[in-house]
Amino acid sequence: MYQVRFHGRGGQGVVTAAELLSVAAFMDGKHAQAFPSFGSERMGAPVAAFCRIHDQPIRIREPVATPDALIVQDSSLVRNADLLAGLDHTQLVLVNTRLTMDELKAEHLKKQVGLQKIILLPATEIALEIVKRNVPNVIMLSAFCAITGLISFETLTKAVQTKFSGKIAEANILAAEKAWKLVEGLGASRMEKPEWEVVHA
């Protein structure tokens, strides 16, 4: 079973990201489960969402306590206690930021996970440039899929098209493509590949 935990703030599409990942995994013939952490929802409040992917039906319902991957859509959360919990098995932390590692001031994160597992990506900037809105979720997801090899770009595109339509879908896919190309090379070199094998439908 592969477990992803998403962090961000209300309004950034964190929950949608988790759902999209689950839809993509489903399209690849996997069992997938996605749900939000159910805090009080308002724009700007910290939000977490979870996604599990597995070959077998998923019975467990608890929040993801020990994620294999962490996707952080808002870098102001890198010192947040909930975000830093349970990272012993985490193989990848993807953070949306245009800052460098030093500027980010994520000492606790570095200590927990190790520098080589943290990848920084200016997803907001890409979003503003191509989608013209500050919604970095699809971009982050695309980078995640590219690095882990979990979901193909084609499947991701199909999944995005179930949630978005018209110009928004097109723009998101373009942005996703840019992010994919940016991180494509980083997969094998920067970290150990997770055990998961991607199965195409």
Partner: protein, 419 residues
């Protein structure tokens, strides 16, 4: 057709396939996505003929369906928590009049203090209102139970509520197989009422019944529940034949054959429990679990049969009856009357507190080793409680309990590390 969708949308699509004629809606978290989904289907004409009523309260929502059902329409609504309580009078009225209304309850805790997250206190509070109560373990089962519910309700002329864990199931995206319209039509015939407000054959429904007959009328209602004990498994079998899935029925066991300890629960927590059972079996413990689908009628015989060979029973509940402890456990003990075996209550997940497999497994091992109290709690913050009790001892004007506790808890949270 296989879909990866949110639980509430799966339920909405399924309800539409059952061809309800009158739907009433009053919003309350976390069921609202269900009625919203249905509203879109009615408005677009996808679900027709159907009258969709946006009413002024849950009391009105169920009352409207009482009227509509008495006029011969197939009816549906959904609610949770406070809404279920607000329609309490109408719940008893609907079952007392024998109207086959189907309703989803997105299980949510009852306030005060107000809490929008999942537990079973709402449907537990209404367990004796006369409605059939079925609990879904997964979103697929939620889908399947609603189809079965209409058939069951109309066959025995009793209202049925399908209990679906709020947020945990309603807001979770998972794989669901939504049947086709043809499949549902083949399974669910048109509604033929036992009683009808018909100008060509006028009757009075709902007159007062005095001491001369009230007992008999109530027994007849109870008798319908007893009938349901046979009808529910039969419909579940029919469903399996037509749709290929074994969902519904009275109870479902998991690895209980040679189990010394059996864990019993309602709803989605069974998934986590089954994972725990697998881990504990791997570690050599002879443990199994039972999921109860039909809580009302309470299947005394089926439960007794399933549990009778175990040495002990651990009942996991998402509801705390003040001054008593476990309701499900009490009902289970009734089923085991005459067979002496310890039945302990474990309360967890109140107000949406996450039920972690690790904590569950630790608790079940303790129970398996007879180290659990009659009533215990998983992941309870005892220091916070002790602090509050101390406070109350020393100050009369100690303030509202809930606010004090939240303040105490917020102080315990790891402060953000300074960079």
């Amino acid at each position: 057709m296989l879909k990866q969708i949110e639980g509430s949308h799966a339920v909405a699509e399924t309800i539409a396939l059952c061809r309800p004629e009158v739907i009433s809606c009053y919003p309350i978290t976390p069921q609202t996505h269900i009625v919203e989904g249905l509203s879109a289907m009615v408005k677009s004409g996808k679900l027709a003929p159907c009258e969709y009523m946006t009413v002024e309260s849950e009391f009105a929502a169920l009352s409207a369906l009482i009227g509509a059902s008495a006029m011969g329409a197939r009816t549906y609504t959904a609610t949770s928590s406070q809404g279920l309580l607000f329609m309490a009078e109408a719940l008893w009225n609907a079952s007392g009049l024998g109207l086959p209304i189907v309703m989803t309850d997105g299980n949510r805790a009852i306030g005060g203090p107000i809490n929008i997250w999942n537990d079973h206190s709402d449907t537990m509070a209404m367990r004796d209102c006369g409605w059939i109560q079925l609990y879904a373990e997964s979103n697929q089962e939620a889908v399947d139970l609603h189809i079965q519910a209409f058939k069951l309700a109309e066959e025995i002329s009793m209202p049925v509520m399908v209990c679906v864990d709020g947020f945990i199931l309603t807001h979770a995206y998972e794989r669901v197989d939504i049947p086709t319209q043809q499949q549902v039509d083949d399974f669910l015939p048109a509604y033929e009422p036992r009683q009808l407000l018909d100008p060509d054959d006028p009757i009075s429904i709902g007159a007062m019944v005095g001491p001369e007959a009230y007992m008999e009328v109530r027994y007849l209602l109870h008798n319908r529940h007893l009938q349901a004990l046979d009808v529910i498994p039969r419909i579940s079998d029919e469903f399996e034949n037509k749709f290929g899935r074994k969902h519904g029925g009275l109870v479902r066991t998991y690895r209980t054959q040679d189990a010394d300890t059996i864990v019993v629960a309602l709803g989605s927590v069974n998934g986590t429990i089954q994972d725990s059972v697998d881990d504990l079996r791997d570690a050599g413990h002879k443990i199994g679990s039972m999921s109860i689908c039909s809580f009302r009628p309470f299947p005394l015989k089926a439960i007794r049969t399933a549990l009778q060979h175990a040495q002990r029973v651990i009942v996991v509940e998402k509801n705390l009856a003040p001054g008593l402890g476990g309701i499900l456990a009490s009902n289970i003990r009734m089923a085991l009357r005459g067979i002496a075996k310890p039945v302990t209550t474990v309360i967890c997940g109140l107000g949406g507190r996450a039920i972690m497999k690790k904590s569950m497994s630790e608790c079940l091992v303790k129970g398996h080793q007879d180290q659990l109290e009659d009533l215990s709690f998983i992941d309870m913050n005892w220091p916070a409680i002790e602090r509050e009790l101390e406070r109350e001892k020393t100050t009369r004007r100690s303030g509202p309990m809930a606010e004090n506790l939240m303040y105490a808890v917020s102080q315990d949270v790891m402060p953000e590390p300074v960079s």
